[in-house]
Symmetry: C2
Subunit: 367 residues, 2 copies
């Protein structure tokens, strides 16, 4: 690399806290108490029991989960949950409603539709602004919740479109099922509104290959005729150890939970996240249109900031110069184009400051 | 730990090559060329392209795979493949035959039976010695292959019972589907006999959380109505990048493949493995019955050596003393009892020598 200092704006897998990486490195051949690498010990050993309990309890404590909730560490990413959730949670004649505010919500909705032949359920699209290019979350009068629905699904933060729900959708007594892959553990939430919360770990929690599924026990149906590995009961009853989980990934999550506590828990990290996002959005807004964000103001994401340059021709040059200056992962997703800065929990404020400085300087030269 | 030197006989997750762990440690914060941790880079970046290509090509080269085969890196362990294989490979009216020589084969068979309601296929038990306690592979006259079968499934090595096929079952033109979780890349195989070869990585290849699936393209059926994440076509067409794979696990596999080449490839490692196993079995056989193996001689596994003490009362003491002397994971699985030494690729010969010395000394004191 030409740049000596790198700033990691990757959308996922993404930046991890430096102290977590340093500890993982120090312990890589010798997990304290085990004398072996965490990768070399049995998932049924006392040493790993301690690791998974730490990760599980870390998430429980950060989200302030009540005893009704189980925390599972599965595999297959959110993509497998797009299928498992409707397969497990919907029976013949049940109905689920989907609020779609970006590509990931669209995938979740399509997956739920695709398994209808298996569960005989109704899957409704309660809102989508796909035709407008996914720029915002809906107002409350733009979607109608069926009080008989089994759940309402939403994507709390859309990684590609940078559209984030600032608060949960209003669904009355209908429980929420949420894909929180890209803003998990980034802010406090009211867990009593949720039947299930899930996400891939690779943005805010750890390496890829672990899916965190938080599920309310009384929201699960009695055991259905599903293949065992797809059935949440299998994993609930065995506390994520029905088969070998991603032990190394769970270990990293346990360290990230510690680090989050050191940041002041979710209240603390949320403040830091908001401040980082404000820095960047303020710079965009102050540019007088030289830069402009993709999402509408009131739906802006604190985690992913997709933005464009008024002069589209300059975008390639921006990417080239930014990359050369040490900004990694700054190129926008092809669905939106332009630039994207992913500013997850672990991204230091200094990285955002450096990006804002770079943007200001770039604008001076080309504005 | 009391012992200064540990010998890792864990059944899985299991011992990894020391040079692989050391390199992973050295590079943990700075993957060469990336300047970031391998956990922090996009699975769609050029840096990760190189990592996954190295792992894929490493396996291709070691197994001498022809171009007909795809190598996939999936998630969910062999347990998910127990369900995915019959869901993908069997249609209504198709038949598969299962040769069951241990607990894992039994699980694979039960899983195939459990998904019959979805694929309408016939799943036959062509052999099982469960009633005898899983001590051997069958002779050729003990199972009858239906030449119209779509595939014959077998478990090349049974981790719990220490029963290993010394050569493939004879199935004529019927292709094999094999769970090789616990002897993957431990010896050469004739890949032309296989339609699919699969296994969890956590015994011989890397950390847990990656499943290697090697599948012959022309053995796949035209796309069926499966949920997308369960459909091999999804992962074949996207070269394991339909969604985010376990990037760190794939990275470790890429390093393990390098290490295997340094051991002389599969021919080289197989020689080392056989020599290690011989040491241990010779010690058992020389004990005049003080120790005895679980599996019958001609079915003995080169990877997992479950054994008992004639005096069952002494087994607890053996485990306690062995553990105290630095032998990790030596306790047998509850289904077989007694002791088990898992002696995978990465276990140094010195560890087996130390165990044999300990066994001899223990026998002297108690024999």
């Amino acid at each position: 690399m030409a740049a000596t200092q790198l700033y990691n704006f990757n959308a996922g897998p993404a930046v991890l806290p430096q102290p977590v990486l340093e500890r993982a490195q120090a312990e890589l051949l010798d997990l304290p108490g085990a004398g072996l690498s965490v990768m070399e010990i049995s998932h049924r050993s006392a040493n790993f029991d301690a690791v998974i309990a730490k990760a599980r309890n870390g998430i429980r404590k950060l989200y302030n989960l009540t005893d009704d909730f189980e925390v599972l560490f599965l595999q297959g990413g959110a993509s497998l949950q797009f299928e498992m959730a409707p397969l497990n949670l919907l029976h013949q004649g049940d109905k689920a409603q989907y609020l779609v505010t970006g590509s990931w919500g669209q995938k979740a909705f399509s997956a739920a539709r695709s398994v209808q032949q298996w569960n005989g359920a109704e899957v409704d699209l309660a809102f989508s602004d796909e035709s407008a290019g996914f720029m915002r979350v809906p107002n409350i009068d733009e979607y109608k919740i069926d009080s008989a629905a089994r759940y309402v699904h939403f994507t709390s933060n859309e990684t590609i479109h940078g559209v984030q729900w600032q608060a949960e959708p209003e669904t009355g007594k209908v429980l929420l099922v949420a894909d929180v892959s890209s803003d998990m553990l980034s802010r406090e939430i009211d867990v009593s509104k949720y039947g299930m919360i899930y996400g891939g770990a690779q943005k805010n929690l750890g390496p890829s290959g672990v899916t965190v599924v938080i599920i309310r026990r009384d929201f699960l149906y009695p055991k259905d005729n599903l293949p065992k590995m797809l059935d949440y009961h299998t994993h609930v009853s065995k506390e994520s150890l029905f088969n070998t989980p991603n032990t190394f990934g769970i270990y990293i999550i346990s360290l990230v939970c510690d680090w989050l506590e050191e940041q002041g828990g979710l209240q603390g990290i949320a403040k830091l996240n908001s401040a980082k996002a404000k820095l960047l959005y303020d710079a965009i807004d102050a540019s007088g249109g030289f830069y402009y964000g993709h999402a509408q103001r009131e739906s802006r994401s604190v985690m992913n900031v997709p933005f464009r340059l008024k002069d589209g021709e300059l975008e390639k040059q921006f990417i080239a110069e930014a990359t050369n200056a040490g900004f990694v992962g700054i190129k926008g997703h092809r669905d939106v184009g332009g630039l994207r800065a992913s500013i997850y929990n672990a991204l230091p404020r200094e990285a955002v400051e450096a990006l804002v400085d770079f943007m200001t300087e770039f604008e001076k030269r080309h504005g």
